[in-house]
């Protein structure tokens, strides 16, 4: 290795951009050449001093809190564009089905005595088991927010049914 090659490689050595082979080759040259070695030692000192100029760390805890507040997850999980409407569409379809089948289900409530039970599902003429199954499916499909949204629709149906049957 010639001295000019070594001079060219010294900043790269500081910058951590040399391969193992290049580092070895440069070190070999530095061992043999006092002039390049002096240059290298000077550069190394400068690099260390530059690194020591790093500023005092800011209050990371406060910054983390600030960021956490702002990067809340979206109401619905992020789907690719063609699927983006899948969640609201599925909920709307479920609501439609419930409305369509409501009269039939109301009969079931009457047969079983038509008494308002403690479970919200029985008020919409679903059995507790049916309701729990639907909730579980919604939870699996859409996570926590799907469940909340789904419950909102059920509550609307309950209120509608109560108004009609009052």
């Amino acid at each position: 290795m010639r001295c000019e090659d070594a001079q060219r490689l010294i900043p790269d050595m500081m910058a951590g951009e040399l391969s193992f082979r290049e580092r070895l080759s440069l070190k070999g040259h530095l061992w043999r050449c006092p002039s390049c070695r002096r240059q290298y030692e000077g550069m190394k000192g400068l690099w260390r001093e530059l690194k020591a100029l790093s500023p005092k760390a800011p209050p990371w805890g406060e910054i983390d809190e600030w960021l956490k507040e702002r990067i809340k997850p979206p109401m619905f999980p992020s789907f690719p564009l063609p699927w983006r409407w899948a969640v609201p569409a599925a909920i709307a379809l479920a609501a439609l089905l419930m409305v369509v089948t409501l009269p039939q289900r109301m009969k079931v409530v009457k047969v079983s005595g038509g008494v308002k039970e403690e479970s919200a599902y029985s008020l919409t003429s679903f059995s507790r088991e049916e309701g729990e199954e639907i909730e579980e499916t919604l939870l699996d499909l859409y996570g926590e927010y799907g469940r909340v949204e789904g419950m909102g629709i059920w509550e609307e149906l309950i209120s509608e049914w109560e108004t009609e049957t009052a």
């Binding site: 400068l46 500023p55 956490k68 990067i71």
Partner: protein
């Protein structure tokens, strides 16, 4: 990219990004502000991140754009006393807190470097970017990014040596 993996990336890159922004000529408060802005923008635009560059490069580009926008804004509405080039002024809080005269010489040396060289040096030393990443942030070839860094390093050494001889 979910919240958890984003938070991990924040923790990994916040130190180098903050250090880079301080050395661009911002005081520590401004640098923290810009860094928070950059992370927030990265989160909001995470769906547009295609993985063609590294996340780190993308983040530094966002931060650099925010900094440039702020400089433009300051030029439009100067509050007085600001350095038109956005370089650290003599009242730079970082410089004020530096104890040794040697450190002041180094900071002055960095300030005196041509803009592209200074950018390359700061991206390498404080941002801890590879030449390939620096090239993406600086919108130039890898060879040019490397050359800017080399020139900056030798130029800075020369400035420091001249001051030592005085």
């Amino acid at each position: 990219m979910d919240r958890k993996s984003f938070s991990q990336l924040v923790r990994r890159y916040r130190g180098p990004l903050f250090s880079f922004l301080v050395h661009l000529g911002n005081d520590e408060e401004e640098a923290a502000d810009l860094m928070q802005g950059a992370f927030l923008r990265a989160w909001e635009r995470r769906e547009t991140f295609r993985g063609e560059s590294t996340f780190k490069t993308w983040l530094f580009e966002i931060a650099l754009n925010l900094w440039r926008n702020r400089l433009r804004e300051e030029r439009r509405h100067p509050e007085g006393g600001d350095d038109p080039e956005g370089l650290p002024s003599s009242s730079d809080p970082l410089a004020d807190t530096l104890a040794s005269e040697r450190r002041e010489i180094l900071l002055e040396g960095i300030r005196r470097l041509p803009e592209r060289q200074r950018m390359a040096l700061i991206l390498k030393v404080y941002g801890e970017l590879k030449y390939t990443e620096m090239a993406e942030v600086m919108k130039c070839s890898v060879g040019a990014a490397k050359a800017h860094f080399h020139h900056a390093f030798y130029q800075l050494k020369k400035i420091v040596e001249e001051r030592d001889e005085m």
